[in-house]
């Protein structure tokens, strides 16, 4: 019987290795798999390349992972937010690398990685510094830049419901990068607010088909990252 449910977040992330590329879902706090990230901090894995839209807030979640010096490089679109201090500080000291990618190109590169498309052309970033060094090409007389797929060793996402097959649904704008990241990693780990019996999720409403998910862990009451940030809490919390 297929059963992707694992009993704890610690077990779910236990094989993330030094030097791995890890996609982390979420747009700001919404959809950020904070419990999985905290267990990754417990694990202490080093030299990670993190693919995530932002670079964390306050001193919890992704920001705490960075603060703990586990991250060698960030691939993201917006590493500067109101409550983001950890990344900027390390970046200005030259202690963390940054690959800045337009948000839509980031999403499409991840989607391409999951879909077996090694490269594609996009109009985004043409004539800007972010297209420098990349191949340009005209289609119908208009310039496009070639962008390559991103594939990760692991993806950590937060979803709403999950079943033993790994079928997932999401909640409102917490969906964001979750579905595409699930497709683009060798091992995808989802923390779900609720694990349900197979068949309980409407087959028309499954957002991530189970084939894309390796492990599911139920975290019924995830920490509210924005609240932790507002309260200036620090990992471990």
């Amino acid at each position: 019987m297929i059963n992707k449910i694992v009993p704890s977040a610690a077990e779910a992330v236990a094989d993330i290795f030094d030097g791995a590329t890890v996609m982390i879902g979420g747009f700001g706090e919404a959809g950020s798999p904070i419990e999985l990230i905290h267990r990754l901090i417990d694990l202490g894995t080093k030299n990670l390349t993190i693919v995530s839209n932002n670079a964390g807030s306050g001193n919890v979640g992704l920001a705490a992972l960075i603060e703990n010096r586990q991250v060698k490089k960030m691939i993201c679109s917006f590493p500067r937010t109101a409550n983001s201090t950890v990344f900027p500080e390390l970046y200005n000291k030259g202690e963390i690398e940054l690959e800045l990618v337009p948000q839509g190109t980031l999403a499409e590169r991840i989607r391409a990685g999951g879909a077996g498309i090694p490269a594609f052309f996009t109009p985004s970033s043409v004539n800007t510094p972010l297209a420098e060094g990349k191949e340009l090409r005209l289609f119908n007389g208009k310039p496009f830049v070639m962008e390559q797929a991103i594939i990760a060793d692991f993806a950590l996402v937060r979803c709403h419901m999950a079943d033993r097959y790994g079928n997932l649904t999401y909640y409102k704008t917490a969906r964001n990068f979750g579905p595409i990241m699930c497709t683009a990693a060798k091992t995808t780990i989802a923390q779900a607010r609720r694990v349900v019996q197979a068949g309980m999720i409407d087959p028309e409403a499954v957002v991530t088909p189970g084939i894309f998910v390796s492990r599911v862990v139920e975290i019924s009451n995830p920490e509210d990252e924005s609240k932790l940030v507002a309260e200036k809490r620090r990992y471990p919390c």
Partner: protein, 215 residues
Amino acid sequence: MLNTAIEIGWSRKEMAQKAALDIPDGSYVNLGIGIPELIAEFVPPGIEVIYHTENGLLGMGPVPEKGQEDVELINAGKKYITAIPGACYFHHADSFAMIRGGHIDISVLGAYQVSKEGDLANWSTGEPGAIPAVGGAMDLVAGVKSVWVITDHNSKDGKAKLVHECAFPLTGKAVVDRIYTNLAIIDVTEKGLRVRELAPGVTMEYLQEHTEAPL
């Protein structure tokens, strides 16, 4: 200079209102962070506009009442929002497919600089020590049918924002179609910047004095 400008020009709310009145009924609109966010408040009754927020929602509604905020229902500026009946959620690749594929009618953005050819610089001042962050701006200007900029006419230190050529790193080249400032509404045409409307008390001479690019 900024103070003078504000005294004789439009307020931020009035700028947003001017832009709001120009949005055709039935438009799909993406509003950037800052002044553009104010626009939704001023769309007149009877006009239905559908707001897209690139983090994955079509049908963004007004700000929730105090206590009704949902931390997982936010806009691209990471502010709490609501969803209208008939809204729908989708993931980031689908959201930017809407943008890049030319399905959004109007994108309203802020700006550091706009050139006379409609080049836009709004993501980086290129200063050392500034953390570069681009978000969805480059995708919006590359994909959306009509790109409007809404910005103070001059920077806080009094410099012109409508320039011959952008000194800051570009967000996109020849992408801006219209500019709403506190002093005027200006179209970007093939022949350069063309004034559409002057704010009360602003003369063409005054406007040109505060603008590097020829009008």
